[in-house]
């Protein structure tokens, strides 16, 4: 992929820069619209919780040779086993598995579920050992949900402390947590809009998204911190420019990471959909797939822009911006003297001058200000 490598190089050297920070109002608007859509899904349609949360029974018959007319046959078997086949959902999962779900089989007891299992095994001509049954009492789901929410709150608290300590600024912790909340809300919104079932495995997926989303944001913020520290030292970039440069520099990494993380998850999804049928593996994979995609989006388009929005009123940041503007004004006059090369987008967005122009400018500067005591570009060498 030479073009992709070239793209990475250009982002790094500043020949090409995407103005993430400058257009932050656009991203905020876009995100706002997406979140409203998610909220409409969440509060309008609601979430589709799986059997584990509602209580009920599920019987899966594997290795069925002849699946013809499976719906009717399953109904018959259930009817003969417990006397009624009302409220039955019969589905075919994968190629050879028949799933029978019901809010209540017979008396709603695990013994009746077992009876149904035996009847289904007989009906579909498989050994009793090929049947998997699941009986879930009605109060099970609430205890799972309760635990998950508790874990979520504790995790967020610990995370806020860890990030504040590590980055030594609360703004980064806040921006990271907002991005996190966005990821979670948006992913859950996708579930509400599409009506995909939420199982306990999906809940695990949601919790993992938190870790992943933060991980992604931390990597970007680490670069932001490095760049802004350098900017403060040299005074050649505003805070927004330094942050934008960081996002651009880590963009290739973000894309690579997301692709690498999504590849195994996509593999699970494909295997899950075509071979396994619904289960822990598929539910987790689907949740992570959405979560990682959304997490990558938020670390680029929300976390860093928000960080800049939060900090740009701070007096130290204002001071840095003032210095950087003065520096860039003087530099642009030098660049104008050097002439020849066209203006690059990186100059205004990230405050980076592409190497060829920088060299030309340096040469021009050298001739023009040979007698000056201090070279105006000298600070660039400090790193």
């Amino acid at each position: 992929m030479p073009s992709f490598a070239q793209f990475g190089n250009d982002l790094f050297t500043g020949r090409r820069q995407i103005n993430f920070i400058g257009r932050r109002r656009t991203w905020y608007t876009l995100t706002g619209i997406l979140l409203i859509v998610a909220a409409v899904g969440l509060f309008g349609r609601g979430l589709n919780f799986s059997l584990e949360f509602k209580g009920g029974s599920q019987v899966s018959v594997a290795d069925v040779k002849n699946t013809a007319n499976f719906d009717q046959r399953a109904h018959n078997a259930v009817q003969s086993a417990v006397g009624s086949s009302a409220n039955l959902e019969v589905t075919k999962a994968g190629a050879t598995t028949i799933d029978v779900q019901s809010k209540k089989l017979g008396n709603g007891t695990s013994a009746d579920t077992d009876k149904v299992a035996q009847a289904l095994a007989k009906q579909f001509g498989v050994k009793p050992s090929a049947v998997t049954t699941q009986f879930i009492g009605p109060s099970w789901g609430s205890s799972v949900t309760h635990k998950a929410i508790q874990a979520l709150i504790v995790f967020l608290l610990l995370l806020a402390i860890l990030l504040s300590v590590y980055f030594r600024t609360w703004a980064m912790a806040v921006a990271a947590l907002v991005a996190l909340a966005h990821d979670l809300f948006f992913t859950v919104g996708i579930y509400a809009l599409t009506g995909i079932e939420i199982s306990p495995a999906t809940m695990i997926g949601f919790l993992t998204i938190l870790g992943y989303s933060i991980y992604d944001t931390v990597v970007v913020f680490d670069k932001v911190r490095e760049n802004t520290e350098e900017a403060v030292r040299s005074g050649n970039r505003t805070y927004a420019q330094a942050a934008n440069y960081a996002v651009n520099q880590t963009l290739v990494r973000s894309i690579n990471t997301s692709v690498v993380a999504l590849l195994p998850i996509t593999a699970i999804m494909v295997v899950g959909i075509f071979l396994l049928g619904p289960g822990t593996l598929l539910d987790l994979a689907v949740a992570l797939f959405f979560g990682i995609a959304v997490g990558t989006y938020s670390s680029i388009f929300i976390a860093t822009p928000l960080l800049v929005s939060l900090r740009h009123r701070e007096s130290s940041i204002k001071e840095l911006d003032r210095r950087a503007k003065a520096f860039q004004a003087s530099q642009s006059s030098v660049l104008a003297t050097a002439g020849g090369v066209r203006h690059t987008p990186g100059e205004s967005a990230s405050g980076v001058i592409e190497p060829e122009r920088a060299k030309a400018a340096a040469a021009a500067m050298a001739t023009r200000t040979r007698h000056r005591e201090i070279h105006p570009l000298a600070k660039r060498d400090d790193d």
Binding site: N9, A86, G106, S129, Q134, P355
Partner: protein, 671 residues
């Protein structure tokens, strides 16, 4: 010995690699050692969880009345008792553990019968209570026509076997399955009929034991919508009318013994009031009248029958209680002997007066000292009443239901009691076992019950591994495309991480009982992406350094010092997430969090001790250090060619290459 030789010759990165090798050797030596000497012997494959291995897993929830609390000590005690019972049944490799502090998870390999499972969780609160009053349960008129479904299988009184009675119940319940929980609607009592196979285990047990021989119309199998002639609907008002004066405080004669009928005028215990079965101030006589033994006796507007029986099982020992067997309702005095006073239990056929074995099966109890003297005084007291009168009898109750209520002919002073209920061999054995291993602090109901077929489990595992391999292959292809030869470092690192992960899972399976579940496998697959990301962060950093003009050897070092910080903080965040999940969650989530956390640690180890040293070594080679086209560090591809303004004292690789190209025209000519 080979490692020692390498160590002595190596420096820096080689030493680190050696330490990693020793670590790997140590893990696998542990696995090998466990497979040789550990008890039970370890294996070379991971211990599989139930969802992959197949078997039955049930989650049990303690049944506690309002205002009662379950404490951790009681739950631990219950776990121990259940474990003893499992082992007493000869089930190997069963696991009993707690969940969410109050739930108990029992995992059994294979496909154990429902009766076995029920017996495990049975509270087994044994009590000897003196009978004060009894009442025959009227045999309900058969009213099959009231069964609203088309299936005519619900013939009441057809059979007494618990299985068929539950199918009769099934027919009814399907009429309107409006509520799945028995407590939510008092009218939907169909779910809690007879069968006992409903959520409440003690009920199931009761049905299994008491119904086994009473072939006469087992009242429990009757449909709910039967006669209104059941006494419960009309009985309540009459006693109240006749005894208003006795309800005045102080006017009640205090009971003098456990058999005293004065108990009937005492106000009921708060547990009945709290559960909505009586109003405050009502007497036990009123409670006795209202208490429904069967669905037929159940009055509309009161809690479901099952709830009455649950509360009866939990009634305080020092208070009277109401209970039923198949034919009779009993009003009983406070418990005088409990399961604690039982020192041993066995079962066998009874002998008749001639000393010959009979067909009756009995459970024999040996009482300890306190129990013996208490039993002697009880039987002496009961002798005062005429033989076979109500007050001559004592009821042996198990979890609130009456197993048997023999009359007393003579005082028993040797502490040997014999229970002859309607036992079969297996139910007698079960009861004897339960008595021997002690009573659980409370009854449990089945919250979940999953049966996983071994076939399906294996299938899941195989396909999960397939998914993992496909994912791994995709990651490998992508890294080779992106990072050229450097991609092989990624692959090698992933292999090392995989080998370490596998070893740890096997070792923990043997030493700490860790079992790999589907969620755990998923955690491992997901970690492929996270592990690979560490390499990406590292490689991108090194490339950044090359782009800004550093020679590769220096770039590897400076890139590492910057990437290390990022990798550590991001792994720390990940580890924090999995640690929180691990501590706060249960069961499947825990397994997932565990493998994710473990692979995060492995990731740090591999990046620090494998990827970085290997890259350092590779940077010394001509292929990588010289920035070969396929090395992934080619400065030309990385755009370093243009970086001629590199600052003071910096010589870029491109410049050196150009110089070398000019001098020798061997390499870098095409640059």
């Amino acid at each position: 010995m080979a490692t020692r030789a390498r160590r002595s010759s190596g420096v820096g990165p080689r030493r680190i690699l050696t330490i990693l090798l020793l670590l790997l050797v140590a893990v696998y030596a542990g696995v090998a050692g466990a497979s040789q000497w550990a008890h039970p012997k370890g294996k070379w494959t991971p211990q599989l969880g139930l969802d992959l291995e197949g078997g039955r897993q049930i989650t049990l929830q303690p049944i506690v009345g309002k205002g009662q609390q379950v404490n951790a000590g009681q739950v631990d005690q219950a776990v121990d008792i259940i474990r003893n019972r499992v082992n007493g049944n000869g089930v190997s490799e069963a696991q009993v553990s707690t969940l969410n502090k109050s739930l108990i998870v029992v995992s059994l390999p294979g496909n154990p019968s429902q009766a076995t499972l029920n017996a495990l969780a049975q509270s087994s609160q044994l009590a000897f209570r003196a009978v004060i009053q009894t009442q025959q349960i009227p045999v309900p008129a058969p009213s099959a026509s009231s069964s609203p479904t088309s299936s005519g299988s619900a013939t009441p009184s057809s059979s007494s076997a618990p299985s068929s009675s539950s199918s009769a119940g099934a027919t009814q319940s399907s009429t309107k399955s409006s509520s799945a929980s028995p407590s939510s609607s008092p009218t939907s009592t169909a779910s809690s009929t007879s069968s006992g196979a409903n959520d409440v285990l003690p009920q199931a047990y009761r049905a299994a034991t008491s119904a086994s021989s009473s072939a006469s119309a087992s009242p429990s199998s009757s449909p709910s919508a039967s006669s209104s002639a059941s006494p419960s609907s009309s009985a309540t008002p009459s006693p109240t009318a006749s005894q208003p004066a006795r309800q005045l405080p102080g006017a009640r004669p205090q009971p003098t013994s456990a058999s005293d009928t004065a108990w009937g005028n005492m106000p009921v215990d708060t547990i009945w009031v709290d559960n909505g079965m009586a109003t405050a101030g009502e007497t036990y006589t009123q409670l006795f009248d209202a208490f429904p033994c069967t669905q037929a006796q159940h009055a509309k507007g009161t809690p479901p029958v099952a709830n009455w029986h649950e509360v009866a099982a939990q009634a305080p020992q020092d208070q009277p209680d109401v209970g039923c067997d198949a034919t009779t309702k009993y009003f009983m005095g406070p418990a005088e002997i409990t399961g604690k006073e039982v020192s041993g239990a066995s079962w066998g056929q009874t002998t008749n007066q001639q000393g010959n074995l009979t067909n009756t099966i009995a459970v024999n109890l040996s009482l300890n000292g306190a129990g013996t003297s208490a039993f002697a005084s009880v039987t002496q007291r009961l002798m005062q009443y005429s033989y076979q009168s109500d007050q001559n009898r004592f009821a042996i109750t198990m979890d609130g239901s009456v197993i048997s209520a023999p009359g007393t002919q003579s005082a028993i002073t040797d502490g040997q009691a014999q229970i002859t209920g309607n036992f079969t061999e297996s139910s007698a054995k079960t009861l004897a076992n339960q008595l021997k291993f002690g009573a659980l602090p409370f009854s449990f109901k089945e919250l979940t019950s999953d049966q996983v077929s071994p076939q399906v489990g294996t299938d899941q595992l195989q396909k999960g591994i397939l998914a993992g391999l496909i994912g791994l292959a995709l990651v490998v292809v992508y890294s080779l495309l992106q990072y050229r030869a450097l991609g092989f470092v990624t692959v090698a690192s992933l292999v090392v991480a995989g080998v370490l992960d596998y070893g740890l899972v096997v070792l923990l399976g043997t030493t700490a009982g860790f079992r790999l579940t589907m969620a755990g496998v998923t955690g491992l697959i997901v970690s492929i992406g996270i592990t690979a990301d560490s390499f990406i962060v590292y490689f991108e950093r090194v490339r950044d350094e090359v782009r800004s003009g550093r020679p590769l050897r220096a770039a590897v070092e400076t890139g590492w010092s910057r990437a290390r910080r990022t990798i550590i903080i991001s792994d720390l965040v990940n580890f924090l997430a999995s640690a929180v999940l691990y501590v706060l969650s249960e069961d499947t989530v825990k397994a997932f969090a565990f493998t994710l956390g473990m692979s995060t640690v492995v990731d740090i180890v591999v990046v620090m001790m494998f990827t970085h040293p290997v890259l350092t070594l590779l940077a010394r080679t001509k292929f990588f250090g010289g920035g070969h086209k396929w090395s992934g560090f080619d400065p030309d591809r990385l755009g370093a060619r243009g970086v001629t303004y590199a600052g003071r004292g910096r010589v870029t690789i491109a410049e050196r290459k150009a110089a070398a190209g000019a001098a020798t025209a061997v390499e870098g000519g095409e640059a």
